[in-house]
């Protein structure tokens, strides 16, 4: 059984100019221990999906329909207090900017200990030992001495390691990592991602890794979901999707990565820009930019369809296809 | 004009009943005060029309009230309603002029400090900081006291109105200066200003046509909120007896006069001008609060 199931999730933002649909009909699953990469342009709904799963959508955003299930239990409609016990304990979260996610007025030790004692039946002394253990695991040198330091005494990369320790310290089954390395120096990004990947593998933790860095995805993820304008446009095993993307958008996205093994005259690029949420076109949202657009794309919105090894929401893969 | 009615500002104005009401109230206050000499039922300064017989009349709905004097009369038989309208005129005028004064000084200082930077900047901001350490009412009192000591009494009575405007204006400029300086620093480093400098526009011209328009919306918000503050300051100074001259009583002066009769039961002489003052200040405050939210500049 899959660990996390997201079924037909729809997130809406009521505004005074009408309701914006930020996520529409998003469905995917994550198996225990699996790493699902989620990619797409800014505003495609990647981070929103993560926020909806941990139940921390920014008001006035709300889940309008659909379900989120953790080990078969619905968690999207839980009362605040019950959901709180799941956050941290069963689903951990890592945010983008380590400079702002740690409380500047508390030592990192205190923040770790309070998280551990909130979720696990241990006393303060034991929690502190565990905290030191986690700091060592995420690669903080001299953890025992540095546990009583304040966040500002660490560099950005070290702080993100602390954030990862905080997300993992109650041993959740799933981590939602929202662009965990985007705010870091390029030289440190690889180290942090490698550490995160190793730890997740050791602890058997599943991960939803939101990023726009295809390199990170290719190296870390088992499967990939490509998002566009609040929908999943293609989902499938990472190898297949990187090499043989089926959806024209994914093809464009993969075509914009410079291959290392051969020379190319020019990289492909996708013309135009992703539509704003308030102006999503009729039919397939990608139709104004799609090189393979045809009649049906302009009137009907495609579901996720089997496209060989991946599933793509594109009419090219409907029965009969473009013919 | 059409663009204005389509805009977000107009929308947020219309969708907030409190704001619409305070705008109407403020407009009534302003017109009542401006047209006092035309629409007020009596002229409180026309000594010939004052009847000492009519002194201390309670409001018309009380048993001994006189329907001629809706809100009653004061110790000299002046009609309270008319006195309030004339008083509001003085209060509004002083408040408005004081805000204009501090806006002009504050914006100029802020622009210069932000644009020039360096020593000029630190000197000007140091002055503003030192002044900000002291509550503005104290600064206004000091300015007033110093002028009072420096000029002979006869001259002082003539210029008292300007002294009050000056005192309140001086006490409030640092707030404008700080905000404008902050915005100027941001604007100055933007590329279009750099570009304007590169093509050799004079600093004065850059400040006026590039930087100034961009700092106007926070200035407008502060000015609105400051108007209510200036009106309150004037009322306080006049209440303390160091504000406008007794020949031109403002709402504060009226309250000061009424305060003496509080214990003998003539409560209306102090309370009605007080209510007028509160209504005026509250409506301006509400408008200012709304404006701040609508323009949403980074204000603290």
């Amino acid at each position: 059984m899959s660990l996390l199931q997201v079924k037909n999730l729809r997130v809406e933002f009521p505004t005074r100019r009408g309701t914006l649909v930020a996520l529409d009909d998003v469905s995917f699953e994550i198996a225990p221990g699996e790493v699902l990469g989620v990619v797409g342009e800014s505003g495609a709904g990647k981070s929103m999906t993560g926020a909806a799963i941990i139940g921390l959508l920014e008001p006035p955003g709300r889940i309008a329909s659909g379900q989120v299930l953790l080990e078969g239990r619905r968690i999207d409609n839980l009362p605040y207090e019950k959901m709180r016990r799941i956050r941290g304990r069963e689903i951990g979260a890592i945010f983008q900017d380590p400079l702002t996610t740690l409380n500047p007025l508390y030592t990192i030790g205190r923040q770790l200990v309070e998280t551990i004692t909130t979720h696990l039946p241990v006393g303060p002394g034991e929690a502190r030992e565990k905290a030191i253990g986690w700091l060592e695991l995420v690669g903080i040198p001299a953890a025992r001495e540095r546990i009583d330091s304040y966040p500002h005494e660490f560099s950005g990369g070290m702080r993100q390691r602390v954030v990862i320790a905080l997300a993992l310290c109650a041993e959740p089954k799933l981590i939602v990592a929202d662009e965990p390395t985007t705010a870091l120096d390029v030289s440190i990004q690889a180290q942090v991602i490698a550490m995160l990947k190793t730890l997740a593998r050791e602890k058997g933790t599943a991960m939803m890794l939101v990023t726009h860095d295809m390199g990170v995805i290719a190296e870390t993820a088992d499967r990939v979901a490509v998002m566009y304008a609040g929908r999943i446009s293609e989902i499938g095993p990472v190898r297949e999707l990187v090499r043989h993307a089926r959806h024209p958008y994914s093809q464009g996205l993969m075509g914009s990565i410079p291959p290392l093994d051969r020379r190319v005259e020019r990289l492909t690029q996708i013309d135009g820009a992703m539509p704003r949420l308030s102006a999503i076109p009729r039919g397939c949202a990608f139709n104004p930019r799609c090189p393979k657009v045809f009649d049906r794309c302009l009137v009907e919105r495609p579901e996720l369809l089997d496209a060989g090894t991946t599933r793509a929401s594109c009419w090219l893969y409907a029965e009969g296809g473009a013919a | 004009m059409k663009a204005f009615f389509d805009s977000d500002i107009w929308w947020s104005f219309r969708s907030s009943p409190v704001t619409v009401i305070s705008a109407i109230v403020a407009a009534v206050c302003v017109f009542g005060a401006m047209l006092a000499s035309v629409i007020a039922p009596h002229n409180p300064f026309d000594l010939a029309s004052l009847q000492l017989m009519d002194a201390f009349k309670p409001p018309s709905w009380e048993a001994e009230g006189d329907p001629v004097y809706v809100l009653g009369t004061d110790d000299q038989g002046r009609d309270m309603l008319s006195a309030i309208m004339y008083g509001a005129r003085v209060s509004l005028m002083v408040g408005f002029c004081a805000v204009v004064f501090s806006t002009v000084v504050g914006v100029t200082v802020g622009l210069v400090a932000g644009y020039m930077g360096g020593k000029v900047d630190s000197l000007l901001m140091r002055i503003a900081d030192i002044q900000l350490t002291f509550p503005s009412i104290l600064v206004a009192l000091l300015v007033d006291g110093v002028v009072r000591a420096a000029v002979p009494r006869e001259v002082h009575d003539q210029i008292a109105l300007f002294v009050v405007i000056f005192a309140i204006g001086v006490s409030n400029w640092p707030q404008f200066a700080r905000t404008v300086r902050g915005s100027t620093l941001v604007e100055r480093n933007k590329e279009y200003v750099q570009a304007a400098r590169v093509i050799g526009l004079s600093p004065l011209r850059i400040m006026r046509s590039h930087v100034l328009p961009n700092v106007m919306s926070p200035v407008l918000v502060i000015a609105t909120l400051n108007l209510s503050f200036a009106i309150l300051s004037e009322a306080t100074l006049s209440f303390l007896g160091v504000g406008v001259p007794p020949t031109q009583p403002s709402l504060g002066t009226l309250i000061r006069i009424g305060n003496d009769f509080l214990f003998s039961g003539e409560w209306w002489i102090a309370i009605f001008p007080g209510i007028a003052l509160i209504v005026m200040v509250l409506s301006v405050n509400l408008l200012g609060d709304w404006l701040r939210d609508a323009l949403n500049p980074k204000l603290r």
Partner: protein, 326 residues
């Protein structure tokens, strides 16, 4: 720690210097002290003698240095109006103002901070809306009008509380206290509420907006994502971060209580320094004004120092100079 205090004191010196300069300039150049002190009839010889006595014929900097020297010893000359040493006048009036200010500060902090926290956390509850409306009226009401309304209701109509003066005071050394008698305490109630109300609303609005700001930060979102209970998030993480800016501004506002005491003391005929000051402004009594200005400046500088020390206690980023890097 020590160097921190020293650097703050060094920063305060220019403020005190500028204020002394202004005080001295007022003292030396505004009005003609000699004419005021001699009255109507005097001979040129008397005038010259007084000028020499006062040291007014000496160069500016010598006079200024003497002024500062005297000021440090609490010596500000004679009041033009009352012909008594200014220092004596101020010492006589200080206890009344300080006791009043202390009560007002206590009221505004003890009521304003909890109200601010509540309205920041539960923004949409009806109580919050009520408190916010109340606070808006609070900032629109001038202090003197609050005083007048309170007098009208509680003294004139209900007759419960006195409307002027301090009641009976007990002398403890040179200090006179109204805290120890029933009439003294009763007399304190209305002025303290009047003086505290404006600060209360300001502090409430400040705490509220800071609280709301902090609740929007990433570290609060992350604390939620870690599944911490609301109690820990609100009263641990959020409140402590709210305190940092609140301490500064609340400190400055409490300082302004002393200045606003001028108005309250006038309304309630409270025999404090504010009443003395306003009477001096009316009579152009420059020595008293100069001394009052210097004293207020000293109070503000002290408050600033205390605020900085509190800051230092709350925010670890100030304690450890720089981050240690990787």
């Amino acid at each position: 720690m020590f160097s921190f205090i020293v650097s703050r004191i060094l920063q305060a010196l220019p403020v005190m210097f500028v204020v002394s300069l202004i005080s001295f300039a007022m003292f030396a150049y505004v009005g003609d002290p000699v004419a005021i002190m001699l009255g109507q009839d005097f001979t040129e010889a008397q005038r010259a003698a007084l000028v020499r006595d006062l040291g007014l014929d000496e160069p500016f900097f010598v006079q200024f240095a003497k002024f500062i020297g005297n000021a440090v010893q609490g010596e500000f000359g004679l009041s033009y109006r009352l012909s008594r040493p200014v220092a004596e006048l101020i010492a006589e009036r200080a206890p009344a103002t300080l006791e009043l200010a202390l009560c007002a500060a206590f009221i505004s902090l003890c009521v304003g901070v909890p109200m601010g926290i509540y309205t920041g956390l539960f923004r949409h509850s009806w109580l919050s809306r009520f408190l916010l409306t109340f606070s808006l009226i609070g900032v629109s009401l001038p202090t003197f009008l609050i005083g007048i309304l309170l007098i009208l209701v509680f003294s004139v109509w209900l007759g419960w509380l006195p409307s002027f003066g301090r009641g009976d005071v007990v002398r403890i050394g040179w200090w006179s206290s109204g805290f120890l008698t029933v009439s003294g305490l009763k007399a304190l109630i209305l002025p303290a509420i009047t003086l505290g109300l404006l600060q209360l609303t300001l502090i409430m609005r400040l705490v509220r907006s800071e609280m709301m700001e902090v609740l929007r930060t990433d570290y609060i979102k992350f604390a939620r994502a870690r599944g911490l209970p609301n109690r820990a998030i609100y009263f641990g993480h959020a409140l402590k971060n709210t305190l940092v800016p609140v301490i500064t501004i609340a400190g400055l506002q409490l300082g302004s209580i002393i200045a606003f005491a001028i108005v309250t003391e006038t309304v309630f005929q409270w025999p404090g320094m504010g009443l003395l000051f306003i009477q001096s402004v009316g009579a152009a009594d420059i020595p008293v004004m100069a001394a009052y200005l210097m004293m207020i400046a000293a109070v503000f500088v002290t408050i600033n120092l205390v605020v900085d020390l509190l800051y230092y206690a709350v925010d670890p980023r100030l304690r450890v100079g720089r981050g240690r890097g990787h």
